[in-house]
């Protein structure tokens, strides 16, 4: 018999306000070790705000309790200016003040060690996405927080980024929190899904069980047709 996995994150009655606007309202959920929790919702639902709040970047009311001493890796949605700086990948990794072997890290995401000397500005967007994943893996995190890892990547590249994440999850025994508005990703990869609509939870559970057309209609309103077409 397998042991119940331990809870690594407990969120209770979370409220976040930005510029006087309520973005997240009375949010509560748990994340267990080894889970892939997808945070799903339309634009403006508060997904990115939720992720930033979990990282401790924003003020909040309520409770966010991470397991003690947990190491978190984070990749933000966009890093617009990085390509304009004369920064090699090695320079970029060094900014994390780690003594880790960068060669090993870069191999983890399927790139060769000599990539380390390449300038970030010279990478393709797919390679850049991999580098961001590698960045988040430095210092051996136990949890990864990803904000829309697919942004700006073509379909071919998108597939590899997610399968890459899954491989890393297995190899490194990771727990992953993933923000997306892409339904196909949810079905294919996540163990749990949290639907946000206007800062409130409107569903939480296993994707196949809870993502009923009715729920999706509530979350996406006009995008239900897209769902029916796909599945």
């Amino acid at each position: 018999m397998t042991k119940m996995p331990k809870t690594i994150l407990k969120v209770k009655d979370l409220n976040v306000e930005l510029d006087g606007q309520e973005i997240i309202k009375n949010l509560s959920f748990d994340v267990k070790k080894g889970e892939i929790l997808t945070i799903l919702g339309p634009n403006g639902a508060g997904k990115t705000v939720l992720l930033k709040t979990l990282l401790g970047l924003l003020h909040y009311k309520g409770e966010i309790r991470w397991a003690k001493g947990i190491r978190i890796g984070y990749v933000p949605q966009r890093i617009p200016f990085i390509r304009e700086i004369s920064l090699s990948i090695r320079d970029f990794f060094k900014l994390k003040f780690s003594h880790q072997n960068f060669g090993a890290v870069i191999k983890l995401v399927g790139l060769k060690e000599n990539f380390l000397e390449k300038r970030i500005g010279d990478l393709s967007s797919g390679e850049f996405q991999r580098i961001l994943v590698a960045w988040s893996l430095i210092n051996d995190p136990e949890v990864l927080l990803f904000d829309e890892p697919t942004t700006g990547i073509d379909i071919g590249g998108e597939e590899t980024i997610y399968s890459l994440l899954m491989r890393l999850k297995e190899e490194k025994d990771l727990t992953i929190l993933l923000v997306t508005h892409d339904l196909s990703v949810v079905y294919k990869y996540s163990s749990n899904v949290l639907c946000l609509y206007k800062g409130k939870v409107c569903c939480l559970g296993k994707p196949k069980e809870i993502l009923t057309p009715k729920i999706l209609e509530k979350v996406y309103q006009t995008e239900v047709k897209f769902y029916e077409h796909k599945h």
């Binding site: 930033k52 990282l55 401790g56 970047l57 978190i72 984070y74 933000p76 890093i79 200016f81 990085i82 304009e84 700086i85 004369s86 920064l87 090699s88 090695r90 320079d91 060094k94 900014l95 994390k96 003040f97 000397e117 300038r119």
Partner: protein, 253 residues
């Protein structure tokens, strides 16, 4: 000859550190902010010329004022930086010309490094070295902040503290820079060597090394040409820097 050497030492110290600092300013997209800051020092320079005290000393309070303005601008309005340039540029020049003795306008606008004293040289060199050390210490953290404040915060970097130190360095460099190239040309000291370096570099080490060297080299040749041809040193320094930039365009990687 002694005077010439003092000018060279001052020039190389300020030029080099300005280039180094410029690499961070360019990343933060505020390379031009040294412009309005320089312009804003003009009333301070005018006062210094009028009452005969050190130009950098006169400029410094006005740089601080400028930094507070930039800070307020960022927090209070969504106006772009160019707007600040326009507003501050005009006001700085206007106020300065209310009481600037007109025969000394050239010193105020394009600087004069040809008469620095030994004492000034020592202070300038020490300050430049100090700023260099501070920048080196905060460099990695600043790069991360410039890339993404969210990532920096996630890495537990105190963003406010580092930004404050960074602005402090800018204030001192601008105050030193106006002595050399005047209120009008200060932005060139931080902006041009950095742009040349970016054209030629593949990583941070090359980038900072080249920017610092280009800054120092520009000052050296600018002051040398001043000695040879007797044009004002400030504009010559800037023009040497521009020449390096044009050459860097050719070899751009």
């Amino acid at each position: 000859m002694m005077q010439f050497i003092l000018s060279l030492i001052c020039g190389i110290a300020i030029g080099g550190v300005s280039g180094y600092l410029g690499t961070l300013m360019l990343q933060k997209r505020m390379a031009l902010a040294a412009g309005p800051l320089g312009h804003l020092t003009l009333p301070g320079i005018a006062l210094a010329l009028l009452y005969g005290f050190d130009i950098s000393l006169g400029a410094f309070p006005f740089v601080i004022l400028g930094i507070i303005l930039i800070w307020l601008f960022e927090i209070r309005t969504k106006l772009p930086m160019e707007a600040l340039t326009a507003i501050v540029f005009a006001s700085g020049v206007a106020i300065a010309f209310l009481f600037l003795p007109i025969e000394q306008a050239e010193t105020a606008l394009v600087g004069d490094i040809s008469k620095v004293t030994l004492e000034e040289t020592v202070i300038t060199t020490i300050l430049s070295l100090l700023i260099f050390v501070i920048i080196k210490k905060i460099y990695s953290q600043m790069v991360l902040i410039n890339i993404s404040e969210d990532i920096a915060k996630a890495e537990k970097i105190n963003v406010k503290k580092y930004n404050f130190l960074f602005l402090g360095c800018i204030a001192i460099i601008v105050a030193l820079g106006v002595k050399m190239v005047g209120g009008l040309l200060t932005a060139a000291l931080v902006a041009i060597p950095t742009c040349s370096a970016r054209n030629l570099s593949r990583n941070l080490f090359q980038y900072t090394l080249l920017a610092t060297s280009f800054g120092a080299i520009s000052s050296f040749f600018g002051i040398l040409f001043f000695k040879l041809f007797n044009f004002p040193a400030g504009p010559l320094i800037v023009l040497v820097s521009t020449t390096i930039f044009l050459i860097s365009m050719v070899f751009k990687r």
